[in-house]
C-alpha cells in the first residue's frame, strides 16, 4: 500500500473509531494520534529530498470532468505533513485537561480535520485541493462553535462564511483554469503548463489570493481571526493558528504563484505591501491588547504577514524561510496558546491586567513560556530566528525598504510579547494569581516537547531546510522562467 495513502486514510479511520469509542477517548486519541506521526517518520525515511514528486497516487475520480484523486509529496508537501502530524498529537495532548462534553465527537472532528489538511497539503488536483480545503474547514467550524466561548455562534459564523466566501472565489478560478486546459484536466501540472494572457492571470491571482489571504489572514482580510481565536476552545485555536492558516501559505506557494506567474508579477507587489502593512498594523494593535488570546492572535497576523511577504518576494531564502517558519510558527503558536490556556484555566480570565507575579508561583511555566515567547520573537538559537532571518532576507532581496518596514516586527514583536510576559508573569501576586499552582506532569511534558523543538530547530535547522530546498528551488526556477519569457 502506498505509504502516503496510509497516512491519509489513517486519520479517517481514527475519525470513525473515535466516534464509536467508548470511554477514555481522550487518552486513546492521543495514543492513536502518535501513529500518523510514526508513519510520517517512515515517510521521511523513504523520502528523497530532490525536486521530484514522490509517493504518487493517481486514481480516476470523476473521469468525465477530468478530476483525479491525485496526490503526491515533494519537499514542500513533506514539510507540511510533518507540521500537521507533529502538531496534532501535541494539540490532542494539550486538550487532555479539558473536560469537553461529548469528547468522541471532539476528537473525531480533529482527526477528520487532520485528514482534510493532509489532503490539502498533498493534493495535485485542483478539485481535490478544493475538497480538502473545505473538508478541513467544516470540522474546525464545529469544534469552535460547539466547544467555544460565549460569542462562539456569531463569531464562528462570521469565520465560516468569510473563509467560504474566499474559497468559493478560488473555486471559480480553479474551474476557470480547468476549462482552459487542453486536456480537460484539473491536474496541477496542466495548470502549470497553461500560458494564459497576463490580464487573465491577474484575475486568477486575485481570486486565489483572496482565498488564501482570508485564510492566513493578510490585512485587511483578518478581522475574523482575533475573534475566532479568542472564542475558540484551545484545541480549536491551536488547530486554526498552528496548522490551518498554513493552508493559505501553502496555497500561495503551490497554487497561487506557479499557476499565475504573470498575475504574480503584476499583483505580487500589492500583495506584498498588504502583507507588510499587516505586520506593522497587527503589531501595533497588539501593543495595547488586554486579552491575551487576542494579543497572540494579532501577533499571529503579524508573523504570518512576514511569511507571506517573504513568499511574494519569491526567492530561495524567502521561500525556505517560509517553509521552516510555517513549522516554527506552528510550534510556537501552539505552545503559546497552550500556555495561555493553562493560565486562563487557572485564573478564569483572559485579561492579563488582572494577573501578575505568576513566575513566582509557577517557575516551570515561566521558563516554558519564556522559551516559546523567545521563539516567537525570533531570538537566535530558537526556531523563530531561523525563520525570521531567512524571511527578512527574502524580503530584503526584493526591496530593502520593505525589509526595513517588515523588520519592525523584530522590535514590535519584542514589545508586545514582553509586555504580555511582564503583565502575566512579573510583578507582585494578587488574589487572583496567588493560588496559581505550578504546572503538572502532562503540562510539563507538552511544554518540554515544545521547548525542545523550539531550541532544537533553532540550533540545527539544516535537516529541515534540506527537505524542501530542492523543491523550492525548482518551483522558483519554473516561475521565473515564465515571468522572464514575457
Amino acid at each position: 500500500m502506498n505509504q502516503l495513502l496510509l497516512i491519509l486514510l489513517f486519520p479517517l479511520l481514527l475519525t470513525v473509531v473515535s466516534l464509536f469509542k467508548g470511554s477514555a477517548v481522550s487518552k486513546w486519541a492521543f495514543a492513536a494520534s502518535i501513529v500518523p506521526l510514526l508513519f510520517t517518520i517512515g515517510l521521511i525515511n523513504k523520502f528523497v529530498p530532490d525536486a521530484s514528486t514522490q509517493f504518487l497516487i493517481d486514481l480516476p475520480w470523476i473521469p468525465s470532468m477530468g478530476i483525479h484523486f491525485k496526490l503526491g509529496v515533494d519537499g514542500i508537501s513533506m514539510m507540511m505533513i510533518i507540521l500537521t502530524n507533529l502538531l496534532v498529537p501535541i494539540i490532542i495532548l494539550a486538550s487532555q485537561k479539558h473536560k469537553y462534553s461529548n469528547p468522541n465527537a471532539f476528537y473525531a472532528l480533529i482527526f477528520f480535520m487532520q485528514a482534510g489538511l493532509l489532503v490539502v497539503f498533498t493534493a495535485l488536483d485542483g478539485f481535490l485541493f478544493y475538497i480538502g480545503w473545505e473538508a478541513a474547514l467544516i470540522p474546525i467550524y464545529f469544534i469552535c462553535a460547539l466547544w467555544g466561548g460565549e460569542n462562539r455562534i456569531r463569531v464562528n459564523l462570521k469565520f465560516f462564511i468569510y473563509t467560504i466566501a474566499g474559497s468559493l472565489i478560488m473555486l471559480i478560478a480553479i474551474i476557470y483554469l480547468h476549462l482552459q486546459t487542453p486536456d480537460n484536466s484539473y491536474d496541477i501540472a496542466s495548470f502549470y503548463k497553461l500560458n494564459l494572457p497576463a490580464n487573465i492571470q491577474g484575475w486568477i491571482f486575485i481570486a486565489f489570493f483572496l482565498a488564501f489571504a482570508i485564510k492566513m489572514p493578510v490585512f485587511p482580510f483578518h478581522t475574523w481571526q482575533p475573534d475566532t481565536y479568542t472564542e475558540a476552545p484551545t484545541a480549536g485555536t491551536m488547530l486554526l493558528s498552528g496548522i490551518m492558516l498554513k493552508m493559505g501559505i501553502y496555497g500561495v506557494i503551490r497554487w497561487l504563484i506557479p499557476v499565475a506567474p504573470l498575475g504574480f508579477s503584476e499583483w505580487g507587489q500589492t500583495a506584498m505591501i498588504l502583507s507588510i502593512i499587516g505586520i506593522v498594523y497587527a503589531s501595533v494593535i497588539a501593543f495595547t491588547q488586554k486579552d491575551m488570546k487576542r494579543l497572540v492572535a494579532y501577533s499571529s497576523i503579524a508573523h504570518v504577514g512576514l511569511i507571506s511577504a517573504a513568499i511574494f518576494a519569491w526567492n530561495v531564502q524567502g521561500l525556505q524561510g517560509a517553509m521552516i517558519q510555517m513549522l516554527n510558527h506552528g510550534i510556537n503558536v501552539v505552545g503559546m496558546f497552550f500556555v495561555l490556556d493553562i493560565i486562563i484555566r487557572r485564573t478564569n480570565t483572559r485579561d492579563m491586567t488582572l494577573m501578575g507575579g505568576i513566575a513566582k508561583v509557577a517557575p516551570g511555566l515561566a521558563i516554558g513560556f519564556l522559551i516559546l515567547l523567545l521563539g516567537s520573537v525570533g531570538l537566535p538559537l530558537t526556531n523563530g530566528f531561523i525563520g525570521e532571518f531567512l524571511l527578512l532576507m527574502g524580503v530584503y532581496n526584493y526591496n530593502i525598504w520593505y525589509a526595513a518596514v517588515a523588520g519592525l516586527t523584530i522590535i514590535f514583536g519584542a514589545v508586545y510579547m514582553l509586555r504580555m510576559y511582564q503583565k502575566i508573569m512579573f510583578g507582585e501576586l494578587n488574589e487572583r494569581t496567588s493560588l496559581f499552582g505550578d504546572i503538572d506532569l502532562t503540562e510539563k511534558a507538552v511544554l518540554l516537547i515544545l521547548c525542545v523543538l523550539v531550541i532544537g530547530i533553532g540550533i540545527y535547522p539544516n535537516p529541515l531546510l534540506h527537505i524542501s530546498e530542492a523543491s523550492v528551488i525548482n518551483l522558483i526556477e519554473q516561475v521565473n522562467q515564465k515571468i522572464l519569457v514575457k
Binding site: 462570521k158 501595533v284 495595547t288 513566575a359 530566528f385 527578512l392 519584542a414 511582564q422 512579573f426
Partner: protein
Amino acid sequence: MINLVWLVPLIPLIGFLINGLGRNFLPKNLVGAIASLAVLLSFGISLGIFFELNSSEVKSFTIPLFDWINAGSLTVPFSFLVDPLSSLMLLIVTGIGFLIHIYSIGYMHHDAGFAKFFAYLNLFIFFMLLLVLGSNYVIMFIGWEGVGLCSYLLIGFWFTNISYASAAKKAFVMNRIGDLGFLIAVFLIYTMFGSVEFSKIFPQAASMVSGDSTLILITALLFVGAIGKSAQIPLFTWLPDAMAGPTPVSALIHAATMVTAGIYMIARSNILFTLAPQTLEVVAVIGLATAILAATIALTQTDIKKVLAYSTVSQLGYMFLGLGVGAYTGAFFHVITHAFFKALLFLGAGSVIHAASNEQDMRHMGGLKKKLPVTFLTMMIGTIAIAGLPPFAGFFSKDEILAHVYEHNKVYWVIGVIGAMFTAFYMFRMMFLTFYGNFRGTSDQEHHLHESPKSMTIPLIILAVLSVIGGFIGVPEVLGGGHWLSKFLEPVFQASNNKMAGLTLDHSTEFVLMGVSVAAALAASMYAYIRYVKGAHVPVADTIARPAFSKISYNKYYIDEIYNAVFTRPLDALSGFFYKIVDKRGIDGLVNGLGAGANEASKGFRLIQSGNVGFYIFMMVAGIIALLVYGFYKI
C-alpha cells in the same frame, strides 16, 4: 589549544544547563562552584589560546563546527574565528567574568534565586563568547541577541518589582531596535560580498574604493546595531535603567563586556568602516555627543549606580569617538582598561550597597572609608584610573584616543577634554560623597555597616591591580613604551591602517595634549574635593528645587519623558486607534456591515412578497411586459 576553542563557550553552557536544571536541589556552594569553575575553565583555555596565538605565525584561525543555515546560495556555517582581537576579548570576558562570578557568590548569597542567577550568568558568558568568537556576522548576531536576552533576564532578575521588569523590557526593546539595523546590514553585506563570513568579506572589502554608498549604508546600519547595544545616543536610556539588576550584573554586562560589543563589532569590521569615512564621522560625532551628554547627566546623579551607569555611557562614547577617528587600537585599548576599572567600580559600588543595606542613594551615605577600607581603596584606584590620571590604566587608553581626536578635529578634542574633566569631577564627587564626611543614613544602616566578605573583596583587589597595571600593555612610543597591544592587534587592523595615515603628531604635541588632559582631570578632582570634602556639600533632596542646569541634568534631560511622549504614547494611542477605530469600526465594521446590510436588505426585500395575489400577478405581468419589450427590441 586553538582547536579546542569550541570548549570555551561550551563549558559555560554546560554550567548553565547544570545549574538551570538543578536549581531546585543543588546546594548553593556547589552552584557557585560549578558556575565559577566553568568560567575559570574557559578562562584557562582562553589563556592557552592566547599564548598559542601569540607565538603562532598565522594570526587567524577559523574553526568550523557545522553548517547552520543553508538556503540556496546562502550558507551560514557555525564556525569560530580565533584571532588577536577575539582572543583578547575571550580573556576579558572569561577573566572578568570569572572574577564577577566569584564576587557574586558573596554578593548573592542571601538571594532566593541564587542558582538561577548563576545559571543566567553562565548563559550570558556563553552568548558573549559566541558573539566574540563567531566567524561570521550571523553567529555574531546570535551572541549579540543572546547577550541581550541575558541582560533582559538579569535586569529583571527581581521581577516582582514591576519597574525592574519594565527596565528589563526597555533594555531588550532598545537593543532590538539596534538589532534590526544589524540584521539589515548583514543582508546588505551578504548581497554585496556573497557571504557573511569575515574571512570572505574583509579581503574583498580591502580592495574596494573608499566612500562606496553601499558600504556607507552597511556601516551606518552596523553602527545602528552598535548604538543599541552600546547605549549611544539616541538609544542610551536603557543602560541607566538597567542598573535595576543585581550589581555584579551591572559590572559584568553593563560595563565590562556586553555594552562593549558594539565597539568590538566595529573594530572587527574596521575595514568596512575605514572605507566609509562618512560613517566614521557620524560615529565620532555620536560618540562625542554621547560622551559629553552622559557626563553632564552624571554630574548631578545621586544614585551611586546611576553615576556609574552614565559614566559607562560616557566612556562608551569615548570609545566610539576613538573608532570614529580611526583609533581602532585605542578604542579597543579603552575597552580593555574600561573593563578593568569599570568592573572594579561597579563591584565596589556593589560592596558599598551590600554594606549599606541596599542603600543606593549617595545622599544617605558618607564616611564609609573607615568601615570599608578595602572597598574604598580599590574604588579609589578605579576612580583615578577612570579619571585618566597617569600611570593608571585609563590614562593610556584615553590619551591614545584623544591624541587621535586631536589630529582629526581640534574641536572634538576640546569637547573630549571637557568631557574628561567632567568624568574626573563626577567620579571624585561620587567617591567623596560615599566615603568621606559623616554617615548620613539611618542608624540601623550604620550599625550594619561592614566590610564585604573575602569572595567579594578579592575580585576587587585583583581588578584594582589590573586597573593599575592594565595600561602598560599599550604604553605609547612617546612614553618610551612599545605599545604591545598595537603590535598584537596589527593583523586585525592592518588593512585599515594601510588605508589611513598613522598618527603624525610630534612628540611635543603629544606631551602637551597629555598634560592638558591630566591637568584638566586634576583640576576637576580638586574642585570636587573642595566642594564635597571641604565644603561637605550634599546634593539636595528631590523635593527641593534645583537650578536650571542642575535640574535638567538631574532629570537626564527629560529624555525618557520625551521618548515617552514621542514614541511610546503615540504608539499606544495609535494602537488604540487601529484597534478600536480602524479594525473594529472600519474593517470589521465593513465586514459586519455586509452581513447586516444583507439582513437589512432581507427585511426590506421580503416585503415584496406581500401575500396579495393581485400584486403577484401584477408583478408577473410587469415581468412579462419587460420580457416582451426585450423581444421587441431584439427581433
